[in-house]
Symmetry: C2
Subunit: 341 residues, 2 copies
DNA sequence: GTTAGCACTCCATTTCGATGAGTGCTAACG
DNA sequence: CGTTAGCACTCATCGAAATGGAGTGCTAAC
């Protein structure tokens, strides 16, 4: 348990370090105004905080910097949520006022705004269709042997893919089945589509359509095919403004990682809802062991749909970012419900 | 006009410099084997080449590096197209063998492969719908006041957007019009849609549908709305491996630029078809004045559809990249025709 | 418990000279 | 006359040594 004074000092050090990116000395803390003790006293406390593992010393004659544990304590107990500034709020309002055609545009654009406002990197996971329901399913023939399958969800989300139609299958038969599927599957959540298909539809169809099995399998694959949510990335180059990544090799390993969509999705795997902060080595990936990742989920009708996140150096403006993500995730939810008023 | 010997020397210098990224001295050229003159002779020629503006000297006691003009001469007269290596060819074959659902996936994936094979940054402009024709148009209602419009092109390309339906317009009326549009517009190239809409359809409809004007305007907007081609970017972090960008500020200005889709599209504006090489300051954007951009267009049925490009330092392996882009752009065309055999 | 004072540590920056790669010029060579 | 060997000169780079200064830990006094 820390004393009040220790907490003040820890807070002051982290604040300073977040601003300056340089080890903080006892003298500068003493001069800040909010901690009115002499440098010597502060030095003593700092030594204690270091013993507790909350601070570190790059070398004997330097000031202190926060350790991972120190940041963790700061985030859990000390950080003050600044709220969203006037300017940012205005920016967000104009952002949400913009008319956008695609669901995905909203999310993608949100990523851009987020990275611009924070000067960090933003990573946004697009909505998953998993929990939504099927609204419409359709095949549009393109040539003799190929067609475009279009799948619309109740959220207005559209998926489409090109499929190849095997030889010996008549378009008519396909259409019969598609019509049937539409009747039976509309309103069914995607995660149930597969079972409904097998239990209710398969037998009924088999009577009056040739090649039924084959067609059904094809369509089933088409509808249920794993559709990984899209990942939107913005402001990756902001990483380069951080002094901790002025070393090109470090920067490269992070930016390289950011290009691999697969890895990014891994980062977002544990998804308990609400705001989550992962500091330094708390992150699974080694490439971002010097970074912190703050994530928030956005939801629609109580269902968590996707995640928005900010990646920055461990020396991140936690207060600002947490407030912002909180604000934005709620606003996105709001916007979605308005969208389908 | 350069003498044969000068061309050999210029070629040798550029080759060496592309490999090493360091100023090339007369001695190392002399030792390469393909130029059998003494260092002193080579020095004389180098001085001449410098006077011609083809070479530069970072400082008096350093070797020479190619100037923009030097690279230009190299690309126009000297470069040997290596062809595509076995390994790369194999990689491309497996790439094209993969089954992909979306048209866009092919293009996006091509960008990835391209950047991996070259270790440069690849930029790919997705297919434009401009020159394709309309195959199918449809509205799917999502809620009382919103619907998803789906537009399918003859290439299998799908566009969709969410539209808001104004109060006082019945879904029925909408559907009538949509059906009509499908009849009349199928097979019409997108760039003609607007005029056909006005000349052939407007008057005919106005007779038997209420609110005709309003609906038509809405749909027209929906169909013809500027759809900027998507930009796919891959391997941006490869820039950081280049010694010329070890300075973080330079790297930042380039990577920052790469994040702005708008700017990237600018880069691709002049689009004469075939392979195009822009070296250093020949590029419009200042941010890439130290880079070269090589682009190729890919086409379908004679129509140029989009562009694939490689961005790297001016010290780029021109021969390799040009061969590769040439190969790939043709393969994409091939693939597209096979897709709709 | 707090603070002033002081010796000490160690990084960062500068300075300086040595090193060496590379040049331009001149003179000799075939 | 083209080519080449030789040589003095330039200048970036590297390492060692010197300097400065920020910050600490400890002790003793308040």
């Amino acid at each position: 348990m820390l004393s009040e004074r220790q907490r003040m000092i820890l807070n002051a050090i982290i604040d300073d370090y977040i601003r300056s990116a340089e080890p903080v000395g006892s003298r500068s803390i003493s001069k800040r105004g909010d901690v009115t003790f002499s440098p010597a006293t502060i030095r003593n406390e700092m030594a204690d905080l270091e013993e507790l593992g909350l601070l570190e010393q790059p070398h004997t004659s330097a000031g202190r910097i926060p350790s991972i544990k120190g940041y963790r304590y700061y985030v859990d107990h000390l950080v003050t949520l600044d709220g969203v500034g006037d300017q940012d709020a205005r920016k967000l309002r104009t952002f949400f006022a913009e008319k956008m055609n695609h669901w995905e545009d909203v999310i993608g654009h949100a990523a851009t705004v987020l990275s611009q406002m924070t000067n960090y990197t933003s990573i946004v996971l697009g909505p998953e269709m998993f929990s939504t329901t099927l609204k419409h399913f359709q095949l549009i023939p393109i040539s003799d042997s190929s067609a475009v399958a279009i799948i619309v969800a109740n959220t207005g989300h559209v998926e489409h893919r090109t499929i190849t139609i095997p030889d010996g299958i008549a378009m008519e038969d396909m259409n019969k089945i598609v019509n049937m599927l539409n009747e039976k599957l509309t309103g069914v959540p995607f995660y149930k589509v597969k079972s409904v298909l097998h239990s209710e539809i398969a037998k009924e169809l088999s009577r009056y359509v040739e090649h039924c099995e084959e067609i059904l399998t094809l369509l089933e694959q088409t509808i249920t095919e794993e559709q990984e949510p899209k990942v939107y990335l913005s402001g990756a180059s902001n990483m380069l403004t951080q002094p901790e990544f002025k070393d090109v090799d470090k920067a490269k390993s992070i930016l390289g990682m950011l290009e691999e969509t697969q890895l990014l999705m891994q980062l977002f795997q544990s998804n308990p809802g609400g705001i989550q902060v992962k500091i330094g080595t708390e992150n699974a990936l080694e490439a971002i062991n010097q970074c912190s990742l703050i994530t928030a989920t956005y939801s629609y009708e109580g269902q968590s749909l996707g995640t928005i996140g900010i990646l920055g150096p461990t020396r991140m403006e936690y207060g600002k970012v947490i407030s912002l993500l909180n604000y934005l995730s709620k606003d996105i939810a709001l916007m979605m419900s308005r969208w389908y008023k």
